[in-house]
Amino acid sequence: MDFQHDILPLKDIIFRTALRITMNREESEDIVQDILLKLWQQRDELETVSNLEAFALTSARNLAIDRISKHEQKNISLIEETHDREDVWQMSAHDCMERDERQSNIASAIATLPEKQRTVLQLRDIEGKAYKEIAEIIGITESDVKVNLFRARGFLKEKLNFLKRDK
């Protein structure tokens, strides 16, 4: 297995998936670095893995969730309160300064979704993955993937209709 040809090309999809979960660029870059190094160090054992990308995304998702929960614990101990959905909305909107306002609204709406719905939406609508592969990456059934996607898209539809009325 060659790092430059087999492992490094996975960086962008790992980064985008991690970014959707952490909503933090620096943290996501750090996750990509950790995952790529881990893959390289375990390259001998990974020769038998049929879908390296799915394996890498599963690892990246687990690591991203782990980092989020650690940050949340830190926040609880510091300010003794959790971020509610509105806080996440504001944070994400701030992170999307370079996009136009309407695109930012979409990004912000996605950011308020539960992590599983967010990741399913990312893997299907942005990465263009099949239901079967998404199920493999997240470790749920294909019907659960569809349920999560249906809820996520439904929520976005409501937001879009709300934004249209608001114009």
Partner: protein
Amino acid sequence: MDYKYIEQLIERYFACETTLQEEQILRSFFSQGNVPSNLSEYADLFRYESSESNIHLGEEFDARMMELVERKSGMKNKVVSIRGKFTPLFKAAAIVAIVLTIGNAAEQSIGNRPSEGFDDVTAINPYIKKDNISAAIKVKDNTQAETKTVVKSDSLLIENND
């Protein structure tokens, strides 16, 4: 222009009934400039989906990763080369250790053989004076001579009785 097909696709998209190809058709449709006003609210969503797939990590990240991997691989190779370099030395040391152990064991087994005569006494305690040793030998010889005399006198007595 009839947008019925697109409207149907949108409906099926939100019902999660579209295929990957159909979803790609929607993204392509909304990425072009002319979007009817009744579908404009969906344009933002599909344009956003298209733009998000273009997020990439730059060459700077690649260079940093390559450097990290080379450093890690270099460290691994270094460990192997040091081990390889010292292998003959370890082998030589092991052979020397085996020879010394066998030699020592052989020496000990020879040294523990049962003692004979007074030579071993001098070997064990070299400070015993040679005069004392010769005196001891004389005592031993005298004792043996006396025994012989007694035996002789006994045989004389027997002879006398006859």
